[in-house]
């Protein structure tokens, strides 16, 4: 089982990102479960969502407390919410930021993870360029698969096209592809 926890703020598509990951995993023949941290969603409030992937049926219904990977959609959460809680020692960390780890002040957490398991990508800027909207979720999914190799990029792009028809899907898929290439190049 591979467990991903996503942190962001209401309105950033955090829940949609987990759903898209689960669809991409399903497209690869895996069992997947995506669900939000249930709450009264408000724009700007801290939000978490979860995605599990496995080769067998997933029966577990508890929130993800010891994730294999973290996706941080909003770096302002790094110092206000305990986003790193339970991250496994061999886990992955992807942050939406144009700054680097040192610039974000999280050397300690990042240093505890294996080499090549941490990446920052300016997903909001990439999304703005492609979609005209500051929605970093689709771009981050591209970065996520580049970092973790948990899924093929094509499965993520297919999931994006499935969710968003026409030009919106094309633009988000292009953003995901650019973030994928950026993280691969690191």
């Amino acid at each position: 089982m591979f467990e991903i926890r996503l942190h962001g703020r209401g309105g950033q598509g955090v829940v949609t990102a987990a759903e898209l990951l689960s669809v991409a995993a399903f497209d690869e023949g895996k069992h997947a479960q995506a669900f939000p941290s249930f709450g009264s969603e408000r724009m700007g409030a801290p939000v978490a969502s979860y995605c599990r992937m496995a080769d067998t049926e997933i029966r577990l219904r508890e929130p993800i407390m010891d994730p294999d990977a973290l996706i941080i959609q909003d770096p302002t959460l790094l110092h206000s919410v305990d986003v790193f809680s339970g991250l496994k020692p061999g886990g992955f960390l992807l942050i939406n930021s144009t700054r680097d780890i040192a610039g974000l002040g999280i050397d300690e957490v990042a240093g505890g993870l294996p080499p090549g398991h941490v990446a920052c990508v300016g997903a909001t800027e990439i999304a703005l360029r492609h979609t005209g909207r500051p929605m970093p979720n689709a771009a981050l999914l591209g970065g996520f698969v580049a970092l973790t190799r948990a899924l093929a990029i094509d499965a993520v792009l297919d999931a994006i096209h499935e969710k968003f028809a026409g030009p919106v899907g094309d633009a988000n898929a292009a953003a995901a592809r650019e973030a994928y290439d950026a993280v691969r190049a690191n």
Binding site: A18, E19, S22, V23, A25, F26, D27, H31, A32, Q33, A34, F35, P36, F38, G39, S40, I58, R59, L60, R61, E62, P63, M65
Partner: protein, 425 residues
Amino acid sequence: MLRQIEGSQGIAEAVALCRPQVVCAYPITPQTHIVEGVGALVKSGDLENCEFINVESEFAALSVAIGASAVGARSYTATASQGLLFMAEAVYNAAGLGLPIVMTVGNRAIGAPINIWNDHSDSMALKDAGWIQLYAETNQEAADLHIQAFRLAEELSCPVMVCVDGFILTHAYERLDIPTQAEVDAYLPPFDPVQQLDTDNPYSIGAMVGPEAFTEVRYLAHQKQIDALEVIPRIAAEFEASFGRVAGGLLRPYRCEDAETIVVALGSVNGTIKDVVDAERAEGARIGSVTIGAFRPFPLAELHDVLAGAKRIICVEKALAPGLGGILASNVRMALRGEAQPVLTVIAGLGGRPITRASLADVFRRAEREALDDVTFLDLNREVVGAQIARAAGTRGSGPIAENLLRALNPGLVHRVPPNEDAKQ
């Protein structure tokens, strides 16, 4: 076809495949995406010959379903939480009139304090209204139970409530096998009502019944539920034969054969419980679990057969009867009347509190050591509770409990405090 979709969407599609003729909904919180999904299918033309009626309240939603069902239309609605309570009078009426309405309850807590999250307080409040109550363990089962529910309701002329854990199931994306229209049509015949208001052959339903016959009417309602104990497994078996997968039925034991400890629960928490059972079994514990599929009628004899050999029973339940303890446990004790083993209650998941494997394993182990109380509140914050008890004992004007607890848990949050608290600070 297998697809990765949201639970509510899967239920909406399954309901649409049942060809409801009237779907009424009050689409405001507490509500799920289910009726929205059905509405979209009506509008797109995928669901034909169905009138989707937006009403002004939950009371109206079920009242319209009652009227529609009484004139022979297959009728459906969905609600949750406060919405179910608001339609409570109509819930009793639907059962008392014997109208085969199917309703989804996307289980959520009941206020006050306000809480929108999952537990079973809502459906448990209406457990004895005369409806058949089925509980879904997974989203696949939730979808499948709706197809079975229309068969069941119409065969018995009794309304059926399909209880689906709010958020945990309704908002979760999982793989779902949504059957084809032809498959559902082969399983579910058109609605053939046993009573139908008809202007060409006028009669009335809902007559006033005095003491001379009211007991007999209620006896027959009870008998209908007892009959359902035979019908539910048959319909589930036919479903398995038609669709090739198990769904529904009265109950489903898991690794109970030689179990000394058996955990009993309703709904989606059974998935987590099964994972804990596997882990504990790997450590040598003799433990199993039972998923209760039908809570009304309650499968007393069938449950007795599964539980009688165990040394102890633990009921994990998402509702509380204040002043009594566990509702499920009370029913399980009824099944085990005359037997000696303890039936313990673990109140868990209230108002959406996560039920974790670690906490469940802890209480199961305590039960095995005979160190578990009759009623245990899983992961209860004793510090906060103790402080509130001391606060209330110390001053008459200690203020509202919920706000006091929130302030204790989140000292940084600003809450309006009662004047005497202000004076103390």
